[in-house]
Symmetry: C2
């Protein structure tokens, strides 16, 4: 998922977002700047700002005014990544992190808070308190999702419903809000805003499931982290949930996934069972389902070359082998 | 500092704030509710909401409309306390915390984020994006202050300027903003808002210095924590800064305060040196200075019985033995 050709129509604006992101953290404390710059420069797919830009471009030709909003959405995403980076005591107890600065956790927390607060200052210029309310509400739900994910680790008894709620909060909501806010400040009417918000939601669901599939089947080079990172941390995603229910090796899988120790030491065996189960196909089926739902919402928008761009992203997710 | 009689004129509204605070956290995740409720119910002096209320009451008789703002300011304060609660790896390495739930740090982080985001939703009804900007800007400065405080621990070479900047960010800014916002949404003119904002700033400085003095001289029962908690954590406050510069035992003090080990094992000796130095008197002198600065700002406000209330708080801080 490295090459999003469908972002071509907003490449100029994405460059502006990138420049603004790099410049965005300029605190009075070197360590905040350093920590934030590191994370921001490490980059990412910039999906959230891209959707802010695309949603705005759907309704207006010149969209320079939307840059701060696009930057804000990416910063909120980065803030959650910084907080995710906090090491759990439990991990520390197991001796996992080998190198970590003395004050690592606190720096991560305050840097995350700083980045989030900075994102809020960027949206003042739109002069709509509703935007703050939407972002605050989304943040609260993301927090709920993070805690829910934490307590769902190693839980082999939780099923599809719990998983969908987790990925909604982890990914779909912020992508949904990106589409919604991009449209909201760009003369879209309430039906169009709603359609894009829902498109973003379904696309975000498809996107996260694809990501969860790739964690099993892509190699370390593509992922930028070891294959099966989720499993090693006890995060049970859709392919595993399916295999836990229907695979002939489900009893063995259950025993392995329930154990923090075995999730690490037997990760390859777990991955092997899941990759050879129908769980991957089922997850692709689910991706297709959500990508199709996203497509449907586009029918509610006026004709525009941009509709094709939105459709291509959904196509891209549903076109995976299955 | 347990009995703030000068809050009598707003006791009805403070009760409403208290009830709203208890009800304020109602997430879909039990552990967030539990963690937040515990912290909120543990209470505190409710200084920030009190100043929001008092500033509003200065300009309007009926101030029910200000309750959500007062709740929001206290929640922002509570959110910082939750994040302060995160255990450093360094502490853990030294084996300090004995009982801690498996996921302690992450729960603290997401609960803090949740509470902060919830505070933001409460201010939407005032429909002024400037309020969000002020709160976001304050949050960023608080983060800078927290990191600055962290990196100032055990640093015996940092002096008054560094200390004042730390307490400004730790305490003065949020009290200042409480006064400012209370006035801002209550028909105060820009000069009056500025006067109350500055009053809050100076009062906050005096308040934190008093708190720092008490950490040396009050007993465990009054403080609710062991005497010398700051010292034990390497937080060097005004009495220590003075003693490090002027006390005959300054070389010994410097050696002790520079060592994380000795700050714990020799805490009583350190406290003894500082309490018997002129550092406590000097800190009272500084408290008086800031309390007087706060008083001066009140002269810019119209005559009102509330002016007396604001003055009494400053008097209370400057009337300590010195």
């Amino acid at each position: 998922m490295s090459d999003f050709y469908f972002f071509d129509s907003i490449s100029t604006e994405l460059d502006l977002v990138e420049a603004a992101l790099v410049k965005s953290v300029d605190s009075n404390v070197k360590i905040i700047d350093h920590a934030a710059a590191h994370l921001i420069k490490a980059g990412g797919k910039r999906i959230r700002p891209a959707f802010v830009l695309l949603a705005a471009k759907y309704f207006r030709e010149h969209i320079e005014y939307i840059i701060p909003m696009a930057v804000a959405l990416e910063l909120i995403h980065v803030a959650t990544l910084v907080h995710d980076d906090v090491i759990d005591n439990s991990d520390l107890r197991r001796g996992a992190p080998t190198v970590r600065s003395e004050w690592g956790n606190r720096v991560s927390i305050y840097t995350g808070n700083y980045i989030f607060a900075h994102a809020l200052t960027l949206i003042e210029e739109y002069d709509q308190t509703e935007i703050v309310d939407i972002l605050a509400d989304t943040s609260m739900k993301i927090c709920e999702g993070e805690i829910n994910q934490m307590f769902s680790c190693y839980r082999t008894d939780l099923g599809l419903k719990n998983y969908l709620r987790r990925i909604e909060r982890k990914t779909a909501l912020l992508i949904s809000v990106s589409c919604q806010l991009g449209a909201m400040v760009s003369d879209a009417n309430s039906e169009q805003i709603k359609a894009l918000k829902e498109y973003g939601y379904y696309l975000g669901m498809a996107f996260q499931i694809t990501d969860d599939i790739l964690d099993f089947i892509a190699d370390e080079k593509t992922l930028g982290k070891p294959t099966g990172s989720d499993i090693r941390q006890g995060v049970i995603t859709l392919p595993a949930i399916y295999a836990l229910k229907y695979d002939p090796h489900r009893d063995e899988l259950k025993r392995l996934l329930a154990s923090p120790e075995l999730c690490k030491t037997e990760a390859e065996r777990i991955i092997d069972i899941i990759v050879n189960s129908a769980g991957i196909d089922y997850a692709y089926y689910a991706t297709n389902h959500f990508a199709n739902q996203a497509q449907k919402k586009l029918g509610l928008l006026p004709a525009s070359p941009l509709r094709q761009t939105f459709a291509e992203f959904a196509d891209f997710l549903s076109a995976r082998e299955c």
